[in-house]
């Protein structure tokens, strides 16, 4: 079955320029939600940009729990 235009365009772009899949997913989500229906407001666009940048941030290691946080009872 022929891919839809969003898939085609995303695939063409990622062939030419490697990108983190998490960022590509954010862009795809934008296009599949309202990004191909109406002009997004600057605030909406900024939110998508933030979510892309957040997705690219390295995930910090979960901090080891201290005894108190692990459920110590006062």
């Amino acid at each position: 079955m022929e891919a839809d235009w969003i898939t085609r365009c995303l695939s063409a772009a990622s062939k030419k320029q490697q990108v983190d899949p998490r960022a590509a997913r954010c862009v795809e989500d934008m296009l599949r939600a309202d990004g191909a229906c109406r002009k997004l407001s600057p605030a909406e666009s900024a939110r998508v940009a933030t979510s892309i940048l957040d997705a690219l941030k390295p995930k910090s290691e979960p901090e080891p729990q201290t005894g108190d946080e692990a459920g110590a009872v006062e």
Binding site: W5, L10, A13, K39, I52
Partner: protein
Amino acid sequence: MTRLKQLSLSWFRGAAEAANYRFDGSSVVIYGENGSGKSTFVDALEVLIRGSCDHLKHEYSGTHQEKGLVNTHRPSGATTQVRLGLMDGRDAAVCIDRPFRPIMSGSAQADVAAWDYSRVVLRQDEIASFIKATKAEKYSTLLPLLGLGHLELAAENVRQLARNVSDKGGLKLKQGQLTAAQAARERVFGDKTDHQINKEVERIYSRYVGASEKDPEKQSSAARTEIERQQADFTKKDRRYSALKALADSDITAEATALKASLAKLEEATESLVKERLAVINAAEAFVKGLEGDLIDCPACGNRTTVEDLRAYVKAEQERLHETQDASVEHRRALSAYCDAVLKLKSAWSAGELAHWRNAEANSELKKKVATLDETDVSELRSGCSAESIDQLETIAFAVRQAADRDSFEAPASVQALSDHARILTAATEAWSAQALLAEINELDGLMAYLAELEAAIRKEIRAQSGSIFDEISSDIQRLWDQLHPSKRIQNVHLHVPFDSDKAIDVAVQFHGVDQASPRLTLSEGYRNSLGLSIFLALAMRQPPDTPIILDDVVLSMDRNHRGMVADLLENELSDRQVILLTHERDWYIELTHLLKPPRWRHQMLLPWESPEKGIKFQGHVTSFDLARAHLESRPDSAANDARKIMDTELPIAAEKLRTRLPYRRGTKNDQRTGVEFLTQLIGDGAKAFEIKKEGSSDYTKNEAAIALMKDAERRMIAWGNPGSHGFDVRKAEAAKLIDACEAAIGTLICAGCTKQVWFADTGNSETLQCQCGTIRWRYGKT
């Protein structure tokens, strides 16, 4: 959806209590002189489809356009309403009452609102403006009509997202920070490689710690801890040396130089930009003053220019503005770095270990100078500073460092070494941070490049999809055009996306075998409007079959011949569509009553509009002479003139149908014959050719009564019709007699029995035409 049945208006624009446009599923030609209510009909449809009226979008029409949509004389308690009835019994309505927000309702409301107004209604001014529009404007207009608007929205959203990613990610700022970090690294390490820096750190680590740690950052951290421990054990004197050394190393020269450079760059960019902008405004002012003739091309500077030059100019302007933006970012970064350096200097100067040294310098020149340093508020400095204040602080810093360097010269080698090694470790840490910064910048650059590629891919998709649609539409446009202009002088009419532009659509033609990039190059106004009409109809034909097509005064610039072609085109190409054709051209309307026949077509006439209270009214018994009579009371001259014009239109048609031969005239005079000339010829031919069946017999006799009525009309037209057209006084009674006589003369050509015209049928022999029942006949062979 089903076809339109009726549109009812109450107190909407020109309409009073009730105005009903009846269609009953048929196509309709509506005639009305200017201001009679044609556009009110189109406005009402527009409000039903769009919720507002485009030409009322201005500051005077009120928040909900109520000042334009509501009849100015609406009685209190009355409601403004538009109701569209469909043939399937459903309806769509809009009610405009206080607080004037249009309230939509009706079972078909959602379906009507889903119509694409641009493909349903075509107004005369829209044809002209479409052809005249730029490629970019055509792109904006056509793309949604082609069903590709979503792709353009997606491309624009991706472009906007890229800008936001750049801003939010602080790409420009990070690039500036990286440049500064690289400069700082160069100051300490020269052109040493990363490996050599790591080796340097390892050497220091081995000297102070000597364990087996391999990670350079951990080595640095461990060595720094040891250095700090040893510094803590310093004697008072050594601590003073160490503080002096730190002060001597507090160099703000690089930051001050960078800040001054960024300041100069920003000033240069801003000053030049303002100068250029002023020049453009001055040129625009001169352009407006000298505006005449065809010198309208560049809307910014008024100069005639090629598209390529204009495009290059816009691009250069954009680049310059971007450079100015970059200069601002760079300036902010340089200012921040400079303030940090000043803060470091102040901190080193104020070190407790240097209290004695500072007091020793109390009476020196240095003490006087550093008063300025003490008073400098760095938080204030961060909001901006002048080149003079930068110079002043730089001079002070230089003097302070010189004094500190002089007095720390005698420091023991161990103190010196600890300070130097601490400085190297700090610089190494900054260099590693710069590597991380570079990685972030590369990631952001990659993301930006990806978004740019995505936008390019979407635009490529637009080009690919529009290409196949263009082929289909272009074929339709060419077919429609060929019907309007069968001479074939214009061929290969087609829409295309120019290869050198992403956001553009244009129309190209082949003129006498020569390719033309734009119809504006060679086509006359009338031809351009024909082309606009062909494009609109080609697009409208792609709508679902029951979607109506409304044509509002679309033949204004066409000659009579091409108007006839439009009628043929409506019959041939849109026979399965419901078309509402509005015109204020009475001659064309009369012609259409002959060309567009019932039951598919209906013809309606609007009465001249008199007042807001009376509103829009249709002529009940519809004849064109009735319309002329409508003026009798107020404007008898106009009524007489109308009668003459009706004869000017009706008689050439009759003469042509009855094979009447008029003497040939040179040039355009053939087309300028008056109705009187045709009538005189018909009287002459009719004396022999026009016959009527004798009562109770199958024999015919000359139709002398008809000829007498024609002669009466001819006499009155010569006497009153012509003066009426030139504005001489024609009294009401005289005009009434003229109208009656003309109507009677035209009426002689219609059979009282079968109501068909005398040319209804050709008998096939003896060169004779006759009505359907054969009561009257015209033996054109006898003329």
